[in-house]
């Protein structure tokens, strides 16, 4: 044995001698000095078993006094994500630290402020808006880590603050302190008294975290002793402040409110105290004042997660349509079920988007279908304010594909399970825009909603001894309850739209507490209201950040012919768009080949040439997902240089494009297809009108002009393609599209026009559909599980039931068995005396269908890829990469499929694609809603600026419920608005006859109103409250004036149209 050892040793020696260089040059990267092995106990997700896990933690002595950030990436124009723009640098010693610290305005503010977790979680607004008085901030790692696990939004904002300060604010410094790994701050007492096991158990994780943060304060206190800088530990934890007091380590511990107040007293213009979150006060109050609880207290977090694990509670995200009803989707194994949460007590302070734990109610409390109907009817009447969609509102069911009823065996009928919220696992508090309650003289005379607001205000407004007062803030978002805010500048907020953040909802308060964030502007002005709706729908509207703009090509970028691209500049490519269209993303050509066939090409702007995968611009575009079209402005997904110039396929310039080229027989048989990255030179940017005039020209002249010839050939092909599609069962749907004629100066609407649909529109649409379908097949063949596709689920019968019964009373059967039968039955439903009837039916049937959605092909079975509306087995979006991110992804997939560029790595991750698709669907819907809200705003302005207008309207629905005031739902096609109108008859009038099967109301034997009837209405605007106006519709004919003289009942209406060329929903 010893011999062998010797042998080995010899070898080692030799090695060392031979290669002495290697051993000396390689510095040994020693594991850091101290070393911990903390043990954690955690529960497994599935079964709730408790397992022990050990992790390593290295403590270091080379971390100095934390890190600061230096901007270095911006200038060099690197393609990189935000993370690498600012690089961390270590602060070595006190001198270095002092050179970084910025002086405050005066002695008082000459301080380093160390932020505890709760400060980062709740009071970021204070930190963000106080740069002059809190110039030096320290973010401990502990706080950020806790922040990250509790509220991602807050974490992101804090990190953003850290970086931004490094990048642009030279009068502020923001330091990150990795206290968990710093040998002087890491709380290592655990190791020291580990022998004394009793003591060790008594310290909880929270205490340890607090102790670490206090250690930072001590460290800074020691280093900054004798300098001008004070060290402030900002914490809302009373216990921690108590310990800090005892510490006497050259630092002060303060609560946020007291510190903000102190700063305010020095600089009254700041009003920092208004920004302070109201969460800290709630906890203490609850204990001391003994306020009575209005709500059941929530179950503690540990019990909640235990309960969820043991199956006693269910976990899910609460989604609500309005304040009164909400759903929580829960899972039991593979099954999913939407649980209805009915009463506000059951809802127990959960707001839309919270992750909650719920307990199921006992079976007696479940809702039977008859209950549901009653409730729905009640709802219908109360909710007169209703935005009407082009497609059906995505219900709980559509959004998640989750049923909300369950069949109970013994009862043999469907029951809606109900439950109650027992606790909230994760809050979804955000910022909301709206205005605070203001008493007006008009309010006393108006409807019930206002008196309700007044009641809330009376109950909750109060003055505080320090001069501030609690106000009631009403958010624009109807899903969000009123918020109580505490402010000292109430008078300044009156009549303004402000942004408020929600902080907490203690059990003694009927409404959540929040704090003021910023003012948008005076209510009622168009720009402010537009801003509000952008905020409300969370649409990114800030200018693009510098990192994104840095990705743009230079201004004098020239488009050159490169060998990798096919030169298509000789082809007569032309584009057809609405007049004034700036972002032209598609162009067409059609030439006759020598063999008599046609070569048809669709060229799409090559956006991915400019937007590199993974670049800051790409990430920003992925986040925005879509351009948003409002009546008066457009919010682009990509910077304007690309949107309106480099990518836009303008006439008479060379542009990079992604072209699809088919060889087609004149009978519209596709012979082959080719995909190419190309350079094109568009010869004309036509408007729909111009293209239509080409189509309408008689045949004989057509061959002279290449433009006219191409358009005519395309039109004839499009007709044939369309015919085939219709035969295959594609639906022709309709929506009451209108557009505003805007005043060129003020951009105020001066007129409303119906959106004219010409054959030229259909032509472009037909080829875009063809391109999309062709591309979807191609990418699916190459990437069967990674393709980004678009599906349109088949409608379910329940949604169509209402329409079927309505059509039946007009003598038409609607068959929804499949899209072909539906298309045929819609075609058959023509009414001679009412030409609009068919369109009305199509509008209504569109609204019975759920909207189409993006998805990743790996997530659904091939059966479910089907696009119902287009009757296509697969479909995707390829043709508008300038304004939709889905198209950008598809461009990349196609480029990879034809081997011109490798697939970016993140596109090969299914989970990334899932997130991406979810985001695209959400953004798409938000953009639609915002567009509609914008139209609504302009409709109000339009009607507000003129006298009441009289117009034709159609009856969409007749309320025939017994014991209810009779009302009808009307739509005005001219303006694309609809609303509920109450009939001037009381519900128990003996002359009133209801015929529910026929959807008909007969009054006094000779006045009758049936569904689809044409009526005449008067429309005007009424001011219901300060800065709140609404449209009012009144029935003129048929008149009910026989019985009562002046019974003008009116109801608000909301507009239902949407705008612009870019709004096809499929």
């Amino acid at each position: 044995m010893q011999e062998e050892d010797q042998e080995m040793m010899r070898m080692g020696d030799e090695d060392g001698d031979e290669n002495g260089d290697t051993t000396t040059t390689t510095s040994i990267l020693t594991a850091p000095s101290l070393y911990l092995r903390p043990t954690f106990f955690r529960q497994t997700r599935k079964k709730g078993k408790i397992i022990k896990s050990v992790t390593e933690r290295y403590l270091r002595d080379d971390l100095g006094l934390g890190c600061y950030y230096v901007d270095e990436g911006l200038m060099s124009n690197r393609r990189s994500d935000d993370a690498t723009v600012a690089k961390p640098r270590t602060i070595d010693d006190t001198k270095h630290l002092l050179s970084l610290l910025r002086p405050g305005k005066d002695n008082k503010t000459n301080a380093v402020v160390i932020c505890d977790t709760n400060v980062l979680l709740h009071n970021l607004d204070v930190l963000e808006q106080s740069q002059q008085v809190m110039p030096n901030l320290v973010f401990p790692q502990t706080s950020l880590v806790e922040c990250r696990s509790n509220r991602m939004v807050a974490y992101d904002r804090a990190v953003e603050l850290l970086r931004e300060v490094g990048e642009m604010h030279h009068n502020r410094s923001c330091i990150f302190f990795p206290d968990m790994h710093h040998s002087q701050t890491a709380h290592i007492e655990e190791d020291i008294d580990s022998n004394d096991s009793n003591e060790k158990k008594s310290t909880s994780i929270n205490d340890e975290n607090d102790a670490r943060i206090r250690n930072i304060a001590i460290l800074y206190g020691e280093h900054l002793r004798g300098t001008n800088f004070r060290v402030i530990l900002l914490t809302d934890d009373k216990a921690s402040r108590e310990i800090a007091k005892k510490d006497k380590h050259f630092y002060e511990a303060r609560s946020v409110r007291s510190w903000a107040k102190e700063l305010d007293s020095l600089h009254p213009d700041l009003s920092l105290a208004d920004l302070v979150a109201q969460y800290g006060s709630s906890d203490t109050k609850n204990n001391t004042n003994g306020n009575t609880d209005i709500f059941q207290p929530h179950v503690g977090q540990t019990d909640l997660s235990l309960g969820v694990k043991s199956g006693r509670y269910y976990r899910g995200v609460i989604r609500s349509r309005d304040l009164s009803s909400a759903f929580v989707t829960i899972r039991r194994g593979e099954e999913r079920l939407a649980i209805t949460i009915e009463e506000s007590d059951d809802r127990n302070r959960a707001i839309d988007g919270d992750t909650v734990a719920i307990e199921l109610n006992s079976l007696e409390k479940w809702i039977t279908s008859s209950d549901t109907k009653k409730k729905e009817e009640k709802d219908k009447k109360s909710s007169t304010v209703e935005i009407v969609n082009e497609t059906a509102e995505p219900t709980q069911n559509d959004l998640t594909n989750v049923p909300d009823t369950i069949t109970v065996d013994d009862a043999a009928k469907n029951l809606k399970p109900t439950g109650r919220v027992v606790g909230i696992l994760r809050r979804n508090f955000a910022n909301y825009s709206g205005s605070i309650y203001e008493k007006t003289s008009k309010s006393s005379s108006s409807s019930s909603e206002i008196s309700e607001r007044e009641k809330i205000a009376l109950e909750n407004e109060r003055e505080h001894p320090d001069g501030s007062s609690t106000c009631v803030f009403f958010p624009m978002d109807t899903k969000i309850p009123p918020i109580l805010i505490r402010t000292s500048q109430r008078d300044r907020f009156l009549g303004q739209r402000i942004v408020v953040a929600m902080d907490s909802w203690p059990s003694y308060s009927s409404y959540p507490l929040g704090h003021y964030v910023e003012t948008i502007g005076p209510a009622g002005s168009k720009d402010v209201e537009t801003e509000v709706l952008l905020q409300q729908f969370k649409i990114a509207h800030e200018p693009f950040p510098a990192a994104v703009l840095a990705c743009l090509p230079p201004n004098d970028y020239k488009i050159k012919m490169v060998p990798e691209r096919t030169d298509l500049r000789h082809l007569p490519v032309l584009s057809i768009d609405p007049p004034g269209c700036k972002d032209i993303d598609d162009a067409l050509h059609c030439i006759v080949l020598p063999n008599g066939n046609y070569q048809v090409g669709v060229s799409i702007a090559d956006v991915t040439h400019y937007v590199a995968a993974g670049s800051a611009m790409d990430l920003e575009a992925a986040n925005r997902s879509t351009s948003t079209y409002l009546v008066n402005k457009r919010l682009d997904m990509l910077p304007a240089l690309l949107t309106t110039d480099l990518c836009s396929l303008k006439a008479n310039v060379d542009r990079y494009a992604f072209s699809i080229i088919w060889e087609v027989t004149p009978e519209a048989e596709i012979l082959n297809v080719d995909f190419k990255k190309s350079v094109i030179h568009s010869i004309a940017a036509l408007t729909y009108q111009q293209a239509q005039s080409f189509i309408d020209q008689p045949d004989c002249q057509s061959d002279d002009d290449p433009q006219v010839g191409a358009v005519k050939r395309l039109a004839s092909l499009a007709r044939k393609f369309r015919k085939k599609r219709i035969e295959a069962g594609a639906l022709t749907l309709a929506s009451p599209e209108v557009k505003f004629v805007l005043d060129s100066e003020s951009l105020n609407p001066t007129d409303v026009q119906a959106y004219a649909l010409l054959e030229a529109n259909a032509l472009v649409e037909e080829f875009m559909l063809l391109a999309n379908i062709t591309v979807s097949k191609k990418i699916l063949r190459n990437y069967p599980t990674l393709s980004v596709l678009r599906r349109h689920p088949s409608p379910n019968r329940a949604m169509f039931e209402g329409l079927i019964s309505k059509a039946r009373c007009r003598g038409f059967e609607i068959d929804i068995e499949n899209s072909k039968r539906l298309a045929d039955s819609l075609d058959a439903a023509q009414s001679e005396d009412e030409p609009y009837f068919n369109k009305l039916l199509r509008i209504l049937s569109t609204r019975c269908m759920s909207p189409a959605q993006y998805f990743c092909s790996g997530e659904y079975r091939p059966m479910e890829w089907h696009h119902y509306g287009l009757a296509a087995p697969v479909y995707t979006h390829f043709t508008s990469p300038i304004r939709r991110y889905a198209d950008v992804c598809v461009h990349r997939l196609l480029a990879a499929a034809i081997n011109v560029a490798p697939l970016p790595p993140h596109l090969s991750s299914k989970s990334y694609l899932h997130d991406l698709c979810a985001n695209m669907n959400r953004r798409h819907r938000a953009a639609q809603l915002a567009g509609r809200a914008s139209v609504q705003l302009h409709t109000l302005i339009f009607f507000g600026s003129g006298p009441p207008k009289e117009e034709d309207a159609y009856v969409l629905d007749v309320d025939t419920a017994e014991k209810a005031d009779p009302s009808i739902r009307l739509m005005v096609p001219k303006y694309g608005i609809e609303g509920q109108v109450k009939l001037p008859v009381s519900c128990d009038d003996p002359k009133l006859i209801r015929l529910p099967t026929e959807n008909k109301i007969v009054y006094d034997k000779n006045i009758s109103i049936q569904v689809f009837d044409k009526v005449r209405v008067k429309i005007w605007v009424r001011e219901i409250e300060a800065y709140q106006r609404e449209l009012v519709m009144e029935l003129i004919s048929p008149s009910f004036d026989l019985s009562e003289k002046s019974n003008k009942r009116k109801v608000e209406i909301k507009s239902s149209e949407k705008k612009g060329k870019k709004s096809r929903s499929f």
Partner: protein, 280 residues
């Protein structure tokens, strides 16, 4: 969504990994030579035996080497060189979380694959032609697994070879490297958490275990299951992994020198070798 794309972590904030290491630091590594003392004593003096216990952070592997010994079947014998026989096992309690499947090491594909990889690396290290028609048996037990078990196993086998005194070309050293995508940093010696974040879901992340003969600069093993978009990335990761191997080399060499000097002292009658295992 936006936040999930832009999400940053400790690495980007302070250039520290989650456990407090810098990106180019390996975990604390301990090498104990000869923890099992009676290997190879039962056979003739021709048979060498050695053992080693290697800890890399919380990952721990023990290897024993016997050889040259007779092959089990004549058909296995090679006329010109010895064959290497690697058996790798894991104790059921090795895994430090997550993956706690108790598997049969004889049929578990991951272990079979690992044993092949280690076998190939050892064949590249040993001077096999000195022992024709014989067999060298290496048995490795993973005692704890906190990521990087393949590298730890190779290092243990390598140290055990040294302990056995079998002739080798160089000290075989292994270390893994990877890329953290959110900050695009190269990391070496990944622990379990970093390893699992590089699998599957987070695309673009890379985990690449690698083994080399540092003094010759020969790469004997590199394994990468991630999709790497270009050669520069691969070069970068490989470079980092090789730098890690050199650090491992220094540590193993230091351990060998220490052990050797202890043995020298013992030989000269100046001290005693006390193995912790022997005492117990």
């Amino acid at each position: 969504m936006g936040s999930s794309i832009r999400r940053t972590d400790l690495l980007a904030l302070s250039n520290l990994r989650n456990d407090g290491r810098k990106p180019d630091e390996i975990r604390r590594m301990r090498v104990q030579l000869g923890p099992v003392s009676n290997i190879g004593t039962d056979n003739s003096s021709e048979t060498a035996g050695g053992s080693a216990l290697v800890e890399m952070g919380l990952t721990c592997a023990m290897a024993t080497v016997r050889g040259p010994i007779a092959c089990i079947r004549r058909s296995d014998e090679l006329p010109t060189q010895a064959i290497v026989d690697v058996i790798i096992k894991s104790v059921p309690f090795a895994s430090s979380g997550g993956d706690r499947r108790i598997t049969n090491p004889n049929s578990d594909r991951r272990f079979i694959e690992m044993s092949h990889l280690i076998k190939r690396s050892l064949e590249a290290t040993l001077l096999l032609q000195l022992f024709p028609k014989s067999r060298i048996q290496v048995t490795i037990v993973i005692l704890a697994d906190d990521g990087g078990r393949l590298c730890c196993a190779i290092n243990a086998a390598s140290a055990a070879l040294i302990d056995s005194g079998l002739p080798i070309k160089d000290i075989l050293c292994a270390c893994s490297a990877g890329i953290n995508i959110s900050s695009d940093t190269t990391l070496i010696d990944l622990n379990r958490q970093e390893e699992s974040s590089s699998h599957g879901s987070k695309s673009g992340a890379v985990h690449l275990p690698c083994a080399m003969l540092p003094q010759r600069g020969t790469l004997v093993l590199s394994q990468c299951e991630a999709r790497i978009s270009n050669f520069q990335t691969l070069d970068r990761v490989l470079e980092a992994a090789m730098a890690g191997c050199r650090v491992v080399f220094d540590i193993i060499q230091a351990a060998v020198r220490e052990r050797a000097s202890a043995l020298m002292q013992l030989r000269n009658g100046q001290g005693t070798v006390i193995d912790s295992f022997a005492v117990a």
